[in-house]
Amino acid sequence: MLVDDEEGFTNLLRMNLEKTGLFEVGVENEADSAVDAIRAFKPDVLLLDVVMPGVDGGDIVAQLRTDPELKNLPIIMLTALISREELSPDAVAESENLIMLSKPVNMEMLLKVIEASLGKKA
């Protein structure tokens, strides 16, 4: 599932993910209603923007972690604030189901991280 206030981005990302034939993709562009949307959709993995108007990504993560059903949900945070180098390959393995990815991200990288997250969940 994708949560990002940038509609163009979520549209294109959804199209790219659906084209792989591997995913069923839900989208939410309103940060305020994101948590409800996530509860309703029950995703296997969440792609979450960090800086959004109103509630930011960090707040959403905090709310999800208090929900027994969602506290182990793998989350990939997409941020325009950090540099790409800051994600080391080890970070995926070490993280508590939370990975930071720097925008812009290419599909190759994104798919690897999604697979790693789902693998961890399974």
Partner: protein
């Protein structure tokens, strides 16, 4: 004799009887001549004419006794017995005229002192001229420790059978004290002056440090606002870039567009996104003031590892690597990730400068030395130059290439943001700016200059770890 002396009134000072073999112009018979001038009795010589204005010997005695200097006279032809002793002399020595007259120094002083006086008297006589003793210390029973300025004059008149020593002593204790005070004051003054100079030096040092700190503050503030700006720009630009990239990815994936140029267009669009992203990253790197993760690091292996990172570029450009890695290089506190960026950046610059030239050689040297005076600030533009002081143990890494060098009119600008010699799209113009910034964060220095032969020498200097 005593009676004669008494005739002179208070503080008898002359012992006329002491003048043996002399007709004795101050004998008892003189009394009858009271009121007559001395000249009437001593006709011919100048010596006697001098006294003409005194009406009598008593008057002369009063003058002697009122002199503010001590006056004495000894008869050298009669065992240096004292024949004249004025009141000031009595004051100074504590010996009255009655006690002194007719005696020798040996009767009045301890042997050591008497010997001293006698020797001087003999010297004065044999030299036949005045002797000036500018300063003598003396223990006076009445006046404590005093200083005297003494002049001794030989009076020799063979015709009259005179062989005398005339002594005049001035008490210079007060003068001496004043001099001493003056000297102390002078010393005090020069000490104060020294302190003042020192204070002044401290002050100007503090002032310089203040200026440097101010510059750093201004710089820090600038960097902070640039940092905020960069973060803002990064966010605003990266989001559309992310969107663009998603679009390009979508179009790139296997669809047949019917136009043979589409794949190429998409590749170039993807590269453009990468380029823009690189610039944004460079900006954020440049402006970020994130804390360094400093660790004591062994430089030689660190340099070798960094060389490994560029081995593909080196092989591709057919560049030979020569390493001169010094022994006993102390460890250096560095942030490995950031310093790796520095070395790789400098290596890549060197490699690019040598591309297309046969027989390129990349030389890397490490060495350690103690910084000498005048070497403390390699780089005048660096505000952190003062962090390394002469005497500091430093480690240097030199990177030398045999490439094209830097044109003289460009070398000033190489650290400026967005200055690049590379074609548009190849360099962001932020590489060296970021490199320099990282080096400065390490309190190190980076100097880049053209080599005399050919190519460029980059010199990195860092303070060595205290413990190593």
């Amino acid at each position: 004799m005593k009676d004669d002396a008494a005739h002179w009134g208070e503080g008898v000072c002359v012992d006329p009887g002491g003048l043996k073999g002399h007709d004795g112009y101050m004998n008892r018979e003189d009394e009858s001549a009271a009121g007559a001038t001395m000249a009437e009795r001593n006709e011919d010589t100048d010596n006697h004419r001098v006294s003409t204005t005194f009406r009598d010997v008593g008057m002369l005695a009063t003058v002697f006794n009122n002199l503010p200097v001590a006056v004495f006279c000894k008869d050298a032809s009669n065992d240096f017995r004292i024949i004249l002793w004025n009141k000031k002399n009595a004051e100074i020595t504590g010996i009255s005229a009655e006690e002194a007259l007719g005696k020798t120094d040996y009767d009045l002083f301890i042997k050591e002192t008497a010997d001293f006086f006698r020797n001087i008297d003999k010297v004065v006589l044999s030299n036949g001229k005045l002797l000036d003793v500018p300063e003598e210390k003396m223990d006076s029973p009445n006046m404590g420790k005093i200083y005297l300025h003494t002049i001794k004059v030989p009076i020799v008149d063979p015709e009259r059978g005179l062989k005398l020593i005339l002594g005049i002593c001035e008490d210079i204790t007060e003068k001496k004290k004043a001099q001493e005070q003056l000297r102390e004051l002078g010393e005090n003054l020069s000490e104060k002056e020294k302190q003042l100079l020192k204070l002044n030096e401290n002050l100007s040092h503090a002032n310089e440090e203040l200026k440097a700190t101010q510059l750093q503050l201004i710089q820090a503030e600038k960097m902070e606002s640039v940092g905020r700006l960069a973060a803002g720009v990064a966010h605003e630009v990266k989001n559309p870039l992310a969107l663009l990239l998603m679009g390009v990815e979508y179009l790139s994936d296997g669809l047949d567009h019917g136009d043979p140029h589409v794949p190429q267009v998409l590749i170039e669009m993807r590269e453009a996104v990468d380029r823009a992203d690189n610039i944004i990253r460079g900006l954020v790197d440049f402006s970020s003031s994130r804390q360094l993760d400093l660790k004591a690091t062994e430089l030689n292996s660190f340099v070798q590892n960094a060389l490994l990172l560029v081995r593909h570029e080196l092989t591709r450009s057919n560049i030979k690597v020569v390493k001169h890695l010094g022994s006993d290089i102390p460890k250096v506190m560095i942030d490995k990730a950031k310093m790796e960026q520095v070395l790789v950046n400098l290596f890549i610059n060197a490699i690019h400068a040598m591309e297309g030239h046969e027989g390129g050689k990349l030389e890397v040297r490490t060495s350690a030395k103690n910084l000498k005076r005048g070497e403390t600030s390699h780089d005048e533009g660096s505000r952190s130059g003062h962090q390394m002081r002469s005497g500091d143990r430093v480690v240097t890494i030199e990177i030398l290439d045999t490439g094209t060098g830097i044109p003289d009119d460009k070398i000033e600008k190489i650290f400026d943001p967005f200055y690049t010699s590379k074609p548009t799209g190849i360099g962001t113009g932020l590489g060296l700016t970021v490199v320099k910034k990282i080096v400065e964060l390490h309190n190190g220095s980076l100097e880049i200059q053209n080599r005399q032969a050919k190519g460029v020498r980059a010199t990195l200097t860092f303070k060595a770890c205290d413990e190593s």
